[in-house]
């Protein structure tokens, strides 16, 4: 059996006092809007199965990618106990003003069959250029964060995440 830090000593009551946790306001079930796709299949509409080099070329062409290791904070566990849920937070240093902000953050996993995880489109109204998500990683891989600034500059940082697969029984 595996362990996590015993940071869970706060009670639910404490938690609810500290945070406003809000339920959903409205759910609409499947409705065929412009985002719906034909029922027969959407394989063609998915991210392509490709090497990460092809993904990078497709997304950024031959534009120069500058070293973003000091401007981008890529926060991930060194070792992911479970590749199916790997939390990542990307924070890019930026004044986030209408004149100078981060326009996009791309998260890309080198070894995934379909390397692109997510593309975020940010606005100055966010105050900081911070996004987080949980990623599926098929195996130990480099994860890249690419930031596209409002002036078109591309910055990149990457980090390796080790993915452990089951021990015996897990």
């Amino acid at each position: 059996m595996e362990r996590t830090p015993s940071a869970s000593h706060i009670t639910r009551r404490t938690l609810l006092r500290a945070l406003a946790v809000v339920g959903l306001a409205g759910v609409s079930g499947p409705l065929l809007g412009p985002d719906a796709v034909p029922a027969q299949g959407n394989l063609g509409a998915l991210q392509p199965e490709e090497k990460v080099e092809a993904t990078m070329k497709r997304l950024f062409g031959s534009r120069p990618l500058k070293d973003g290791s000091s401007a981008i904070k890529l926060d991930m566990p060194l070792i992911a106990e479970n590749g199916a849920v790997v939390p990542v937070t990307v924070e890019v240093q930026s004044p986030m003003t209408p004149a100078d902000y981060v326009k996009h953050i791309y998260i890309i996993s080198d070894k995934n069959r379909r390397p692109m995880n997510a593309k975020f489109t940010l606005t100055a109204a966010m105050g900081t250029a911070l996004v987080g998500a949980n990623l599926r990683l098929g195996e130990t891989t480099d994860v890249r964060a690419v930031a596209e600034l409002s002036d078109g500059t591309l910055l990149m940082a990457k980090r390796e995440v080790k993915v452990t697969v089951g021990g015996c029984g897990g």
Partner: protein, 109 residues
């Protein structure tokens, strides 16, 4: 999955005007992965969230295009500058036409 589309949003309980507020949101969703038969991907209508849109008093402040490389029951974290009281809304759109929304009232203390 009975809970599909359940959304939870978390913001700090105390927000002051002008704060940059950190938000976490979770949606219950299978984020179906591509299946393979004889090594080839099967063409079917995979069910996953492909778009997330965050609006603050109706103005879009963040959007995300998401893929199946995002986990089942995805969570997203981001910040926004709380300039005025109102409503923060997060909408999750999936490939089967589902739209799941959560909102949170932004009030100043």
């Amino acid at each position: 999955m009975a809970e599909i589309g359940k959304v939870r949003i978390r913001v700090p309980s105390s927000i002051k005007q002008g704060d940059v507020v950190r938000v976490r949101a979770l949606v219950i969703h299978p984020m179906e992965i591509v299946q393979r038969r004889d090594g080839k991907p099967v063409d079917k209508n995979y069910h996953f969230i492909h778009k997330v849109v965050v609006t603050y008093n109706g103005r879009e402040i963040l959007a995300a295009e998401t893929t199946q490389s995002v986990s089942e029951n995805p969570f997203f974290a981001f910040t926004f500058r709380a300039t005025e009281p109102g409503t923060l809304k997060i909408a999750f759109l999936d490939t089967h036409g589902g739209k799941y929304e959560g909102t949170v009232d932004i009030k100043f203390s």
